[in-house]
């Protein structure tokens, strides 16, 4: 493709034919990537496509088996992160590397190479530079604010400032918008555009297609460790990118069809729940989910969604209020009682709750039913029955694995989640509770899981869906409750809801009512 529009500059960064093999796996297979000064270059690919490996190579965390890296046209060998930073390459990780109890200035100075040989910090100079840098890129930040008190969006700006403070010329952002609201995402995009205008090169890693189309100057798509295409945002669209990324045509928007809600299955009244630190986190929630409907809960992470869900499925004892399942009081029941009453639960953190990573896949597939026939007779387990049903589940839910006996940790994120889904979906259900069911998954797996959820709904299951991905809630839900500071502040119709209105409700709790005309206060 040579339809360049701008002036052709020498690339700030060029990676040529990078190949990185791990035992039994080629993570990067001759990947070439070229980033020009002032360019926002998106790296698009599914989980497991090799994006992170490529960036680890760039950051000196992994040695490539073949290929070379050129900075400003000169070949370099990058020995490690410190070396990369010294050469002006900086990475903003998906999970922020910030110390919450330290101030913005302290976090930025932390681990700064220019500080290595000095005993005392020149705080005054540091504060001055931080304020100046912030102004230059369009945001004012208080260097003395504790990072823990900042919102996620601002924490991300601190991460970016940290890189700029170290004179980064090439900035790598790994899924920067995963934790942001739509408004925060827009703001960060503004910052990135200014950075690019000043001549910084930005590598933007993502699997969100519309974002990439919005922010990138060029898009490189990789699949299974290879570059499968390069696109200009103007000359492509979401369907094209998705097909490139997955390797086949993908249905991006869920065809949710009509729902036929019946009687109320889940009824929550005045529920109050505390978090692990004893803070009241759910502060009086009322909601109803009917059979055959998907009730979505939208909200910025940390507004009580996890605690609400945990109280419903029995993992957390509520302080007050009641939970009824199909007319039966189930408040404070144990997780097993809930499970046996026909409630399935896909937890937000599959590594911590949903799976035991060091256990074989087959054991994980019976994690909630291991004690029942046919998997056990009395206390004696039946490995044959477990393996037999595992083979069926692997087939039916398309779990890609060498065998049922490999450790769950060896599967990709998508396949791990499919295993959780296989375990939880594969029986008669009254209520299905999903907490972040597709977080961090690739397009193909998301599509698969969404279809399974719709199928469950159509079979008459009540579905409670919690997601920090507003798009997911909007696409899937028949009704949406917006959760803010432990309360459901509004319930809106899932088919007519306006994304910006819901986003605003998520961010403010509905104080600015004018912007949320579609919202009906709960």
């Amino acid at each position: 493709m040579t339809d360049e529009t701008g002036p052709i500059l020498a690339p700030a960064l060029e990676m040529r034919g990078i190949t990185k093999r791990y035992p039994g796996v080629v993570a990067n297979d001759g990947i070439s990537l070229e980033v020009r000064p002032g360019e926002i270059h998106a790296l698009l690919g599914e989980n497991g496509a090799g994006k992170t490996t490529l960036m680890n190579v760039l950051y000196g965390l992994a040695k490539p088996d073949e290929g070379e890296i050129l900075l400003d046209g000169k070949p370099v060998t990058i020995s490690g992160p410190a070396d990369a930073i010294a050469r002006g390459i900086n990475m903003v990780h998906q999970h922020f590397m910030l110390v919450p109890v330290l101030t913005v200035a302290e976090n930025i100075l932390l681990g700064d190479e220019t500080m290595a040989n000095r005993v005392f910090l020149d705080r005054r100079e540091a504060r001055r530079r931080i304020i100046e840098l912030g102004r230059r890129f369009g945001f004012e930040i208080d260097p003395d604010a504790k990072v823990g008190s900042l919102s996620v969006g601002w924490q991300q700006r601190v991460e970016i400032l940290k890189a700029l403070y170290r004179n980064a010329r090439i900035l790598v952002l790994d899924e920067p918008t995963a934790v942001l609201t739509p408004q925060e995402t827009e703001e960060i995009f503004g910052v990135l555009r200014r950075l690019a205008a000043e001549g910084h090169s930005i590598v933007f890693i993502s699997h969100k297609l519309y974002e990439v189309l919005e922010i990138a100057d060029r898009i490189t798509v990789i699949r299974r460790g290879r570059v499968v295409g390069e696109r200009q945002p103007k000359a492509t669209d979401e369907d094209d990118l998705a097909a490139l990324m997955v390797g086949r045509e993908v249905q991006l928007t869920v065809d949710r069809g009509d729902s036929h809600p019946a009687g109320v299955v889940l009824e929550v009244k005045g529920l109050e729940v505390r978090d692990d630190r004893g803070q009241p986190t759910v502060r009086g929630v009322d909601l109803e989910v009917r059979a055959g409907e998907i009730f979505g809960i939208a909200g910025v992470a940390g507004n009580g969604q996890d605690e609400l869900v945990e109280a419903i499925v029995g993992l957390r004892k509520p302080q007050a209020g009641s939970v009824n399942l199909a007319g039966q009081g189930v408040t404070g029941n144990s997780p097993r009682q809930m499970n046996e009453a026909g409630v399935a639960y896909v937890p937000a953190d599959r590594h911590r709750f949903g799976l035991i990573l060091s256990f074989p896949l087959a054991d994980n597939l019976v994690l909630t039913s291991y004690y029942r026939a046919p998997y056990a007779r009395g206390i004696v387990r039946d490995p044959k029955a477990i393996l037999r049903d595992a083979a069926v589940a692997i087939e039916r839910y398309d779990i890609r694995t060498p065998s049922a006996t490999v450790r769950a940790s060896t599967l990709s994120g998508g396949n791990q989640q499919k295993a959780v889904v296989a375990r939880e979906f594969d029986r008669e259900l009254k209520l299905l509770v999903l907490d972040q069911p597709t977080r961090g998954l690739d397009v193909g797996s998301i599509e698969f899981i969404h279809r399974q959820v719709i199928a469950k709904r159509d079979a008459g299951t009540a579905v409670l869906l919690v997601s920090a991905e507003l798009d997911e809630v909007l696409e899937m839900s028949d009704r949406i409750g917006v959760m803010y500071a432990g309360r459901i502040v509004a319930i809106v119709d899932g088919r007519t809801a306006d994304k910006n209105a819901v986003g605003l409700l998520m961010a403010t709790g509905g104080e600015e009512r004018s912007a949320s005309a579609a919202a009906v206060p709960a």
Binding site: V25, N47, G48, T53, S358, L367, I379, R381
Partner: protein, 396 residues
């Protein structure tokens, strides 16, 4: 977070030999390194002893510097442990409590619990066995043996139940509470043996003999039935852990307490049950020494079996079947140490040095793995995806 995609036909499947090596390499290397270090200790201690030059003394007197002393010592150690049927039986007798104690500690590890209190449970188990054994010393042997053994198991189980219960209700860490209970056990034993259990008018604190409650001998002069009990216990623990729902729950709690709770298991109840069962195994270890070897109890009863058991469990990497060879290694060193002292003049305490270095090297085994460039199941991939590199969670 991206993990590399497996390439078709190039699955990370290693040969049987390679997998066996990756399991055995570290324990083997640890033992070899410890023996090397032991050899250095032997030679160093030899250097410190001034000996006359050989030309100045009559034949037969120790003289000069013996470069091969380490070999003499190790040869004597092996001969003492395996030279002849009596030696082998003696080795098995030494091994028996180590198997049971090692199983106790390994069982705890599987549930994510570090039972440092095996020593205390061992002592209290022996105490239970001696109390009932002495009381039933004149009863028919089968009754006396079974009752005394059960008493030992129950007593050890009780001593394990306490820290398990404390952990479940208050979160008290089992490492702290079991260490404290070890001291309580030592004092309890001393008080009882020099008080109510003491043979009246005996010059030293000692209990009566357990008489008919003593384990029958079935091998040579000293091979008691505790040996069989230990082997059966290893099989039983393996079966419990890997073939029953109870073992599945225990391993789940050990590997991921959160996932276990999510799955409807009850981690607190399992903690109590695991510590109780672990204590019962350690109690059986004490019982086997008391009913099988000493038949009565003095206030100095109990060596360091409970502590050695921790090393056994670590060396066996918490696998109940691997506990058998690991315990045999330590048991044979104990059994052979006497001959080593006689033949090579090396004090039996060298065995403690060897055990301690084995423990140290085991703790440092991640370093060894790196030096050996041994792959974990998914190293390499783990560097690309740090979130997926969770360990098996066997050792604390």
């Amino acid at each position: 977070m991206s993990a590399p995609v497996p390439v078709a036909g190039a699955r990370p499947r290693r040969s049987f030999a390679a997998r066996t090596w990756s399991v055995l390499a570290v324990p083997l290397l640890v033992v070899i390194l410890s023996l090397l270090l032991g050899a250095i200790v032997i030679l160093a201690s030899e250097l410190l002893v001034a000996r006359p030059a050989c030309s100045t003394v009559t034949a037969g007197t120790p003289c000069g510097f013996d470069w091969m002393l380490w070999f003499t010592a190790y040869a004597a150690l092996v001969q003492g442990a395996f030279g002849g049927s009596d030696a082998i039986i003696q080795t098995l007798v030494y091994t028996t409590p180590l198997v049971l104690g090692g199983l106790a500690v390994a069982f705890g590890f599987k549930a994510g619990l570090f039972n440092i209190g095996a020593q205390g449970q061992f002592l209290v188990g022996a105490l239970g066995a001696v109390i009932v054994g002495v009381a039933l010393a004149g009863a028919p042997a089968p009754v006396a043996i079974v009752a005394a053994t059960i008493a030992g198991i129950v007593a050890g189980g009780l001593w394990g139940f306490i820290p398990g219960f404390l952990k479940a209700v208050s979160g008290a860490h089992e490492v702290v509470s079991t260490i404290m209970l070890n001291y309580v056990a030592v004092q309890l034993l001393a008080a009882l043996v020099s008080g109510p259990l003491k043979v009246p008018k005996s010059p030293s604190p000692v209990t009566y003999d357990v008489g008919n409650a003593a384990f029958p001998i079935f091998l040579g002069d000293t091979g008691h039935i505790g040996i069989i009990l230990a082997i059966l216990a290893a099989g039983l623990v393996w079966w419990l852990l890997f073939r029953t729902t109870w073992g599945f729950e225990i391993r789940s709690v050990g590997a991921s307490p959160d996932a276990a709770r999510y799955a409807g298991m009850r981690p607190k109840l399992l903690t109590v049950a695991t510590m109780t069962f672990s204590g019962a195994l350690a109690g059986l270890a004490g019982t086997s020494v008391l009913l099988g070897v000493s038949h009565s109890m003095t206030s100095s009863f109990g060596t360091t079996v409970g502590f050695d058991s921790i090393a056994v469990a670590l060396l066996a990497r918490s696998n109940p079947l691997a506990v058998l060879p690991a315990a045999l290694l330590f048991g044979s060193m104990r059994a052979g140490a006497g001959l080593m002292q006689i033949n090579a003049g090396i004090p039996v305490e060298l065995v403690d040095v060897l055990q301690a270095t084995i423990l140290l090297f085991l703790v440092a085994s991640p370093v060894l793995r790196r030096l050996l460039r041994l792959r974990n199941v998914q190293a390499g991939i783990a560097t690309a995806a740090p979130g997926q590199s969770l360990g098996a969670g066997t050792a604390p």
